[in-house]
């Protein structure tokens, strides 16, 4: 070991241990999930009291609810981001709004679940359903998109922006033709992460989307997702093969979240590569 580099060696050791612990979670899940794996799990309905149940409706619910929630919250959140970066007057209340949004970015999911439960389910009489769950996910996602979007947009170099305006482009043209394309790779990256976060969300959905599935998909049909099923089966499942069902559900879920993050990162890297920006030395 080189003299005066003790802490470097320590940090390398810590990194190995830390990664080993976190990977332990994934490897154990893979091992238990693959034990007794059968592809029919992906196409069958769950069974409450018998072995061999599947997760087909949960899979459909997860993907559809996350997509619907993103379809609502991503454009609205980005609109807020654009307004905050390019249109907001330099007023004190705008600063406050930003701060409040940053605060709400870390709102506990259970609190969102509680509010949707009290307003939609109790107040409006909506059932525990795909619809209630989707709204909960969208509410959870909105401040995150607005804040992260604004961060990404504000990192587009100011001279690009001014150059475009100086050439006679209107503000909105600048946004569409310059800012969003320039920020696209970073935005795709964020989208992948937000997809994964919503797909893995549990606390906000237990009492909004519910812990059951319906006979068919529908806005007001029960909307249990993979994450909720994973939680429910592991803590309260009564089927004989609950261990296998839980681990298999978890494995599918983790595959989806990792796929979303990696897919988005690869896509973003490809766009950057096409633009001739190599992966930076530090990246």
């Amino acid at each position: 070991m080189k003299r005066g580099r003790r802490w470097y060696a320590v940090s390398a050791g810590i990194t190995v241990v830390a990664l080993a612990i976190v990977l332990w979670v994934l490897l154990l899940l893979a091992k238990d999930g693959l034990a007794g794996w059968h592809w029919s799990r992906l196409t069958r309905f769950p069974r409450e009291l018998r072995s061999g149940g599947g997760i087909a409706p949960e899979l459909v619910n997860t993907v559809s609810m996350v997509m619907l929630a993103e379809c609502f919250s991503a454009p609205v959140g980005m609109a807020v981001a654009v307004w905050l970066t390019d249109y907001a007057p330099p007023a004190a209340w705008v600063g406050w709004l930003k701060r409040v949004l940053i605060g709400f970015q870390s709102i506990p999911a259970i609190v969102v679940g509680l509010i949707v439960y009290q307003t939609l389910v109790d107040g409006l009489g909506w059932p525990l359903s795909v619809g209630s769950g989707t709204i909960a996910l969208a509410v959870l996602n909105l401040p995150a998109v607005a804040v992260l979007g604004a961060t990404v947009l504000s990192e587009v170099p100011g001279r690009l922006r001014e150059g475009s305006l100086a050439l006679g482009a209107t503000r909105i043209q600048t946004v569409w033709r310059l800012m969003l394309p320039a920020a696209l790779p970073a935005l795709i990256d964020q989208l992948g992460y937000s997809w994964a976060r919503l797909a893995g969300e549990t606390a906000a959905l237990i009492f909004t989307a519910g812990i059951n599935v319906g006979p068919r998909w529908g806005w007001f049909q029960p909307g249990e997702t993979l994450a909720v099923h994973f939680w429910y089966v592991r803590t309260e499942g009564a089927m004989p093969d609950w261990r296998m069902v839980a681990a298999a559900t978890g494995l599918v879920l983790v595959t989806i979240t990792a796929g979303a993050v990696l897919g988005a990162k690869l896509w973003a890297a490809r766009i950057l590569a096409k633009r001739g920006v190599g992966v930076s030395e530090r990246g």
């Binding site: 609109a79 949004l101 009290q118 307003t119 797909a199 990792a258």
Partner: protein
Amino acid sequence: MERQALNGWIERWQARLLWAATLLVAMLVLAITLVLAVGATRFLQSRGWRLGVLLGANWNPLAGHFEIGLFIVDTIIVTALAMAMTLPFGLGVAVFGAYVASSWERTALRWLLTVLAAVPSVAMGWWGLAVVVPGLRRIGGGPGFSLLAAGAVLAVMLLPTFGLLALEVLDKVPEDWHQASLALGASEDQNLLQMALRVSLPGLKTAFLTAVARAMGETVAVQMVIGGAVYGFHGMLGPGATLTTQILTDMAILPLGHPAHGVLDLMAVILLAGLTLLTIWAQRGDERP
């Protein structure tokens, strides 16, 4: 001429739409705050505004006792345990990734951490049930379901996020500063401890508080391993319940529409108040010159 008019019209309407979206989100935030405030107020009113409910530990809804002090204390303990465990590991990962790793190791580490940071918390809870709870039962006796188990599960859950955030902070220390420090005869260790970590403190503080906020707000991963004990404090190796886990447990049990349901809003308000303080603290003095 006509084209210009059309462009102007589009421009105006798009600007209005952006403003409408902002208004919508602002209203949403306001509505959330209001719903919670109304629920919490109704509850406190039904208790005759006795703020002792915040301090006491007598939680027995059937008997009409709604004191939430225990949940506050358990939330703080679990969060502190988690951060104490995740801090050294996260810093180690960050130092390695920012200063020690070769170029490809750094890239691989970043990608790996990003994927791990996106692992759903329920998977961490599952691992806690499979590994941590039985392990603690064997080592420490008792039920295994415990504050310590919750802290450990949270620590593992937060590690990739905190490590990644801290790595970005350390990576932002300008190369000039490293060279200036080394050129004065600093060893790598001295450069790390007396320059790099010191100048990164504000950023590391923000990263740390972001992780604290996630720890405080996490629900299922904690709920799966904490044991849900609401009567009294049982020590680190004993079960407990936090604000978030208790909201989850009682959301469907406390009768909707009854003022008692508002105790959950009060718990949410307390959580949000704590998180607000964290956010303010995190933003204070974080602007690097």
